[in-house]
């Protein structure tokens, strides 16, 4: 099964690259806040059209110009 001499090293290498990326990102603080990012995407008002009514939001600086 010579194909495995290619596929297994490739897959192992992928895992190590992924591990390296994970620890690098972890050290740089990407995973420190596990609550805020989920909320922040909701603050980005991306609705178009004449009436993007959302009572909870201040649309003054981030609404979409059409």
């Amino acid at each position: 099964m010579e194909a495995l001499y290619l596929l297994i090293p490739l897959s192992v290498l992928t895992v190590f690259v992924a591990l390296w990326v994970f620890f690098k990102m972890s050290d740089s603080g990407q995973f420190d806040d596990m609550v805020g990012p989920g909320l922040r995407v909701l603050q980005d008002d991306d609705r178009a059209g004449p009436n993007p009514a959302s009572p909870a939001e201040d649309k003054s600086d981030k609404s979409i110009q059409v």
Binding site: L6, S11, M34, L42
Partner: protein, 475 residues
């Protein structure tokens, strides 16, 4: 208007429209070949219309045209909105659009002509294969370039999924694509025999894992929270979900080659990793569904949310069914039967199709400066027509598959086979007709979507979406 201060909606809009158009084409070809299986005369003895040539065209059109155009549209949208910057390069982004369309048109021409590498989901001959590589590198540059110049420090989880899908596809495509051209339209794989089969299914299953799973999970983690106006149930779990999938998916491919010339231990490793995959898959599904907790009532009135959430239930079903089918004893019954077709389509129609349709329905009004789709009622109709279509399709193929498996293995007391092969084919006929009906319903839903899209977008309005000044929480 300074274009650097607004998002690049142009390329997102182009890919959004392409998704709808290619979806209708790919599903139409699917319905045609489903009809051919029930009524073989429908190939009219024309070589270009035979099942063997149209079937790869169907899979290429739904996966690489409908599916990947949808991923282009959503990944370009999500990476811009969550990083709060314009795409890295407008020209390169435009190149990915036109380059990808050229790949797809080449597929439409070459596959019916019988030009193929003969590798499932990697049929396109070497000149097209090289074009795919070039477009894909441009895609990676645009996507990761945008991530690098982001104005938001945190990389939103959806981008991790999109990024992994882009990198993994590059790796898989290059390894499985290795070959030697003989003529302009004929090449030979660099591997042979069982080696080729192993490389092919390492590619094939990881294409399922990184395109049809990771890519669409990127949609889940952005469009479900946005449409439900609720944050992801557990952001921490979404990160765990991502890394767990990345570390386990690469090893599951051999389950496509149970009871073949592949060494037994390799098959067993593939099976074990397939079973392990159940855990992260269901973790992710529950995470997506629970995003609606406290907002379940929205499912009653919001057809887009129906698409998104029902897609997750199909994701849960397929990711349970898949590991079960990878168990060797189950596989000895299910393999080579229509059960495999049922499994693939519960994933393709239910999971990939619905999450893409829901996300595209989210994008269309935003790309055309409208508040909502031209007809939300038509979206609701689409949802129900498509759902009934999927259920008819997969239920009939499940029954047909188990029946075929049982008939093929049935032996008389004297050791001879109880049924000839053609008796199994004959018994499958009614289920092929039901499957055709299900497919036709699913296609009808897609045509409704096309009409609704045309009505919403026909004024050709372009949207200048300004990039908001940074929110205080980002500073």
């Amino acid at each position: 208007v300074n274009s650097a201060q607004s998002y690049n909606y142009r390329v997102v809009k182009q890919f959004t429209i392409a998704t709808v158009v290619w979806g209708a084409i790919g599903m139409l070809i699917g319905v045609i070949i489903a009809a051919q299986l029930a009524w073989p005369a429908l190939n009219f003895d024309i070589p270009w219309l035979t099942y063997g040539r149209l079937r790869p065209l169907h899979t290429n059109a739904v996966i690489f045209a409908f599916g990947i155009c949808g991923l282009f549209a959503t990944s370009y949208y999500v990476v811009q909105r969550t990083c709060q910057v314009r795409l890295f390069s407008d020209k390169l982004a435009a190149f990915t659009f036109w380059g990808w369309q050229l790949v797809l048109v080449s597929a439409v021409i070459t596959l019916p002509l019988g030009i193929t590498r003969g590798k499932e989901y990697a049929e396109l001959e070497w000149p097209i294969s090289i074009l795919i590589t070039v477009v894909w590198v441009a895609y990676a540059v645009v996507f990761f370039g945008t991530l690098v110049k982001r104005k938001v420090k945190h990389i939103y989880v959806a981008n991790w999924f999109f990024g992994a899908y882009i990198l993994a596809v590059a790796l898989l495509h290059i390894v499985n694509g290795a070959g030697m051209p003989a003529t302009m339209w004929k090449s030979y794989s660099a591997y042979s025999g069982v080696q080729d089969a192993m490389v092919q299914w390492w590619y094939g299953h990881n294409a399922v894992g990184f395109i049809l799973t990771a890519g669409y999970l990127g949609m889940v983690y952005y469009f479900i929270p946005k449409q439900a106006e609720r944050p992801v149930y557990s952001y921490r779990l979404s990160i765990v979900h991502f890394w767990a999938l990345i570390f386990t998916y690469m090893w599951a491919g051999p389950h496509h080659l149970h009871y073949t010339a592949l060494p037994d231990w390799t098959q067993s490793v593939g099976m074990v990793f397939s079973l392990i995959l159940l855990a992260p898959s269901w973790g992710g599904m529950i995470n997506g569904m629970m995003t609606l907790s406290g907002a379940w009532h929205k499912l009653r009135s919001d057809p887009i949310l129906k698409f998104l959430i029902v897609s997750l239930s199909f994701y849960g079903m397929s990711t349970f069914e898949g590991p079960m089918m990878s168990i060797k004893t189950v596989n000895s019954l299910s393999h080579y039967t229509d059960w495999g077709i049922a499994h693939v389509h519960s994933g393709a129609l239910g999971w990939v199709g619905f999450i893409t349709m829901g996300s595209i329905y989210y994008l269309i009004p935003r790309m055309s400066g409208k508040k909502e789709m031209w007809s939300p009622r038509l979206v609701e109709t689409h949802f129900w027509v498509a759902t009934i279509g999927v259920v008819l399709y997969i239920a009939s193929m499940w029954i047909a598959g188990v029946m075929q498996g049982l008939m093929w293995r049935a032996v008389n007391p004297d050791g001879t086979l109880t049924y000839t092969f053609v008796e199994g084919v004959k018994a499958t006929y009614p289920y092929y007709v039901i499957r055709f009906t299900g497919g036709l319903l699913y296609l009808s839903g897609m045509l409704l979507m096309g009409y609704n899209t045309y009505k919403t977008m026909r004024d050709g309005a372009t949207v200048d979406a300004r990039i908001p000044s940074l929110l205080p929480s980002h500073a």
